[in-house]
């Protein structure tokens, strides 16, 4: 058995966990992060990627709204390469209560969110695909944020400052000494067990935090609320479009990288269903018909996939309905709550406030282990965001490489593109043609960004996230995994199989139209031409 020691163990590789190890690393604290799956594979990577201005909470939850706008301004400085400043609109449809319009303006004013009413004509100039029958429009400083990139950059920085990250490693039990937790026992993907000892354990496992607490003998009920979203083939909007009404199903369309997302439905689910991620046809129907009301093009555009996330809402005051439970930050010192030392749980909140949650957690942890250093994460930029450059200027620097490659790589890795776009010829070789991912970028991700399989690779590079959903690049990627990632040839074929199955989960709820054509084509290739499921016959042993 392996044994490790550190100052603080953080359980959960979402944005909060990653932010916490970065915060602690900046204060000189040694950490190990344990994630049972891959980074940002839970709620962090399963939301609409909105860089909230706070306006969505301005009427009902002023505290959250204020947190949002503060963090919004900080993230724009420290993580600009994970962010796109698209701006946002709140639009009132004919069927909406017009009174909410002024409520929202007041709420924003109160929370310090720069919201401004604009003419309908101007709104349509800003967003030509918008429903022309809207009654009013308000601009807010919304933007988009890429959760994978954000999490990855936080981890990269922490690792460069001495932290360790163990992905695909599951906590199986906590190690206790009396009422104090002194470490955890975990098991990695190869079945090896590792004992890690630390002064403090941070439970940042999101909705799975309930299980971690159970391991420690603590009861912390979570109320899982499933939110489903729909991804559309390309950017049908350039600006975030919100519906000007109290938050409800299907009221936001966010442009994210090359696609747009329609969000969100909210549905309470039993705790034992949190790992199923199924999306029902009626959820899709709601998203489509509501999305169409804001941007009529929605109906004519290919739906790429649907996915859902489970919000880690902790019921503090006994409320049970998904949207009504506060999304506020919940930081629990289990010594105070349950008399168990050495464990804190951080939950609630949202992607937007990950840094603040990390700061609060690190403050508490540091006070317990006697570290005096203060939080610096609001000042020091993340790797990739060191100096602000425009993509135009960057493209000029890399003349000779097509602008679309430089631009896309820059968009994904910020200034770290220097590590990727070297003069090597493989940087010109396209692997994923939809998202312009080159062989060079894949090599960099496999070697530097803690990637174990093609699904992990997708989170770092967007390979397979375009309209073809991995139809060609999945195979190419599997070969590169053999070449750079140390996978055996048979293993790389299994990775390919797993990747296509993972893509299928999101495709099948939206299987109609061009999406179905695409899937038929993909099936021809991998099943008809390549004989994927025939492989098992090899071993069975046939007699001719």
């Amino acid at each position: 058995m392996n044994r490790m020691e550190t100052d603080v163990i953080v359980i959960g590789g979402g944005a909060t966990g990653a932010g916490t190890i970065r915060d602690l690393a900046l204060r000189g604290v040694k950490t190990i992060l344990i994630e049972k799956n891959d980074i940002a594979s839970g709620a962090t990577g399963r939301n609409h990627g909105l860089l909230h201005s706070g306006a969505r909470y301005a009427v009902k939850d002023p505290e959250s709204a204020q947190e949002c706008i503060r963090e919004n301004q900080i993230l724009r400085k420290i993580a600009w390469h994970c962010i796109e400043d698209t701006g946002g609109l709140f639009v009132t449809l004919p069927e909406d209560d017009p009174a909410y319009h002024s409520l929202l303006l007041d709420g924003c004013k109160h929370a310090g969110i720069p919201a401004k009413e604009i003419s309908i004509k101007k709104a349509l100039q800003l967003e030509p695909n918008l429903n022309p029958h809207i009654l009013s429009a308000i601009t807010v400083p919304d933007g988009t944020i890429d959760p994978f990139r954000l999490t990855s950059a936080n981890m990269l920085d922490a690792i460069e400052r001495g932290a360790k990250v163990l992905t695909h490693t599951k906590v199986v039990s906590v190690i206790k000494k009396g009422t104090e937790i002194i470490g955890v026992l975990c098991r990695n993907i190869h079945g090896e067990e590792i004992e890690i000892y630390a002064k403090m354990v941070v439970n940042a496992a999101g909705v799975w935090g309930q299980e971690i607490c159970n391991l420690a003998g603590i009861d912390l009920p979570m109320f899982p609320s499933k939110g489903s979203m729909l991804i559309i083939d390309y950017r049908i909007n350039g600006v975030v479009i919100n519906r000007c009404r109290p938050p409800a199903d299907g009221d936001i369309i966010v442009p994210g990288d090359t696609v747009s997302l329609i969000g969100t439905t909210s549905k309470e689910i039993p705790y034992d269903k949190i790992d199923e991620y199924t999306i029902d046809d009626d959820e899709i129907d709601v998203l489509l018909s509501d999305g169409e009301k804001m941007i009529p093009n929605v109906r004519f555009t290919r739906a790429l996939r649907a996915y859902c996330g489970v919000r880690p809402l902790v019921a503090v005051s006994g409320e049970k309905q998904g949207r009504n439970i506060s999304r506020g930050i919940v930081l629990i010192d289990h010594k105070e709550r349950d008399g168990i030392d050495g464990l804190v749980t951080i939950s609630g909140g949202k992607l937007m406030t990950y840094r603040l949650m990390a700061e609060k957690t690190a403050d508490l942890v540091c006070s317990k282990i006697g570290v005096k250093a203060k939080c610096k994460t609001d000042k020091i930029p993340l790797p990739g965001s060191e100096h602000k450059f425009t993509s135009r200027r960057t493209m000029k620097k890399f003349s000779g490489i097509p602008d679309s490659v430089v631009g896309s790589t820059f968009y994904r890795h910020g200034q770290r593109l220097r590590n990727i776009l070297t003069t090597d010829k493989k940087n010109y070789r396209l692997i994923c043609e939809c998202e312009m991912v080159t062989e060079g970028e894949i090599e960099y991700a496999i070697k530097k960004l803690n990637v174990h399989d093609l699904v992990d690779l997708r989170r770092r590079t967007r390979i397979g996230m375009g309209p073809c959903q991995g139809e060609l690049c999945a195979y190419r990627g599997s070969g590169l995994f053999h070449e750079y990632g140390g996978a055996s040839p048979e293993g790389s074929v299994e990775l390919l199989n797993d990747f296509l199955e993972e893509r299928w989960k999101g495709i099948k709820p939206v299987l109609w139209g061009d999406g179905l054509r695409e899937s038929e084509f993909t099936y021809w290739i991998y099943e008809g031409l390549f004989g994927m499921s025939n492989l098992k016959n090899n071993k069975k042993g046939l007699k001719q």
Binding site: D281, D285, L288, G400, P402, S404, V405, K425, Y428, R429, L430, I431, E433, E439, L472, Y475, R476, S478, G479, L480, H482, P489, E490, S492, V493, L496, N497, L500, E501, R503, W504, K508, P509, L511, W512, G513, L516, R517, S519, E520, F521, Y523, W524, I525, Y526, E527, G528, L529, F530, G531, M532, S533, N534, L535, N537, N538, K539, G541, L542, Q544
Partner: protein, 431 residues
């Protein structure tokens, strides 16, 4: 002008039907809206590869004979065994006259190796995929080298090699992996060109690089008696290129398909078009038939749409060979499945969550692959009212009621149904 036969769709089914019609002396036109799925196929013709339960079929004709007895709705049942046999012979003859000899294993299926190293049953293959010489090499346990070109991302020799080693046929055979470099390749690197199999096949077609490629092959293959290359050794004159390379290297050359475009399939496409033209057939490319008029269970005309103007085309007979969803013969919407030109009856069922299986590589495959137009016993399409349309016959993937991939019968159904349609039309018009 009224044609004898208008074939809508220029894929394997449309072209086969066109060749047979034109050869019978009918005034035939094929209208094709975009390139066909042969561009992505293995180039082998599957007749019947798997049973209902997924077991491998050894003798396809025998299997079909049983299938005809048990499954009344299967297209093979409607075509009948004798037409199926005739159609395959016809197909072999036609391709042989365009210098693409197709081999079979008598009444047995043979195997082809896939890029992943799986082994799939099929009935007809090109010489580079199945031949008696290749069979001998396997029998004599000769050493095989699986080769790829450096920098080519649409094929990985390592995966093929590792997986076929697990198969009983290859168990005792020494298999090595190697890579060769391509003389022309360095020129193509510093840009975003996709560098597909088609680009390499063009390099082979110029033939001037062959001696250097042969040297590379000899170096990488060592003392192997047979080598496999990703399938791109030429399109039009592949036979002579392969012979030359075999002579230069002294090694048997096997081909394994790559990611699309598939050169093996492309050869069949080119050869079929050549045959069709040689019999005086007319071929209109890039035209989409958008609608058809049906009156008293008979098609009056079909129309193309260009610049907002409909142009009518009239014929005595129409063959619907528009393929499945990919090729646009069928359409799936949130509301359901429909046929795109005549809005014919289909076997597509709602709700849409019944169109697919849980896993992508599900044992049951996917129900949507079975969807297609409902036909009567003579392959006449049926209207939604259930009436058979006298002069509208169906061929290939547009026909419902079978799963081309799961059953391993896509090529066979396309060829046999196309041939059957042509037979019926010729018989009627020659009366």
């Amino acid at each position: 002008m009224i044609y004898d036969c208008v074939i809508i769709g220029g894929g394997l089914a449309g072209l086969t039907c066109g060749i047979k019609c034109a050869k019978e002396g009918l005034h035939t036109v094929i209208i094709s809206g975009g390139m066909n799925s042969l561009h992505f196929s293995s180039g082998s013709i599957d007749l019947a590869g798997y049973t209902e339960k997924g077991a491998i079929v050894k003798k396809p004709f025998e299997y079909i004979k049983d299938l005809i007895k048990s499954n009344k709705e299967h297209p093979y049942t409607k075509i009948g065994l004798s037409s199926i046999k005739k159609s395959i012979d016809f197909f072999i003859d036609e391709l042989a006259s365009d210098n693409i000899p197709l081999n079979n294993n008598g009444e047995y299926n043979h195997f082809r190796v896939t890029p992943l190293g799986a082994v799939k049953p099929t009935y007809l293959s090109q010489e580079s995929v199945y031949s008696s010489k290749g069979k001998e090499i396997i029998k004599s346990k000769g050493k095989i080298a699986i080769l790829n070109f450096k920098g080519f991302r649409d094929y990985y020799a390592e995966q093929t090699a590792a997986n076929i080693k697990n198969h009983p046929i290859f168990q005792d055979i020494e298999i090595t992996v190697g890579s060769i470099s391509l003389p022309y390749y360095h020129k193509t690197e510093k840009n975003l060109h996709e560098f597909r199999s088609i680009d390499i096949s063009r390099i082979f077609e110029t033939e001037k690089y062959l001696p250097r490629i042969a040297e590379e092959i000899k170096r990488a293959a060592g003392d192997a008696v047979a080598i496999s290359l990703p399938a791109f050794i030429g399109i039009k004159n592949y036979k002579s290129i392969r012979q030359k390379l075999e002579a230069m290297t002294g090694k048997f050359i096997y081909e394994i398909p790559t990611l699309p475009p598939s050169i093996l399939g492309l050869r069949i496409d080119h050869a079929l078009k050549d045959r069709f033209f040689s019999y005086g057939g007319e071929y209109i490319a890039g035209e989409k038939i958008v609608s058809g008029k049906i009156n008293k269970n008979e098609v009056e005309s079909i129309s193309t749409l260009n610049e907002g103007r409909l142009s009518e085309i009239k014929s005595k007979y129409y063959v619907l060979a528009t393929g499945s969803f990919f090729s646009g013969g069928l359409q799936s919407r949130l509301e359901g499945i429909s046929e795109t030109i005549f809005d014919l009856a289909t076997n597509g069922t709602n709700p849409r969550n019944k169109w697919y299986s849980k896993n992508f590589f599900d044992k049951k495959s996917h129900p949507f692959l079975n969807f297609g137009v409902v036909t009567d016993k003579n392959l006449n399409a049926k209207t939604k009212e259930g009436k058979a349309i006298k002069n509208l016959l169906c061929a290939g993937a547009i026909i419902g009621g079978y799963n081309p991939i799961k059953e391993g019968c896509g090529g066979g159904v396309a060829i046999a149904s196309a041939y059957k349609c042509a037979e019926l039309i010729a018989k009627d018009l020659k009366k």
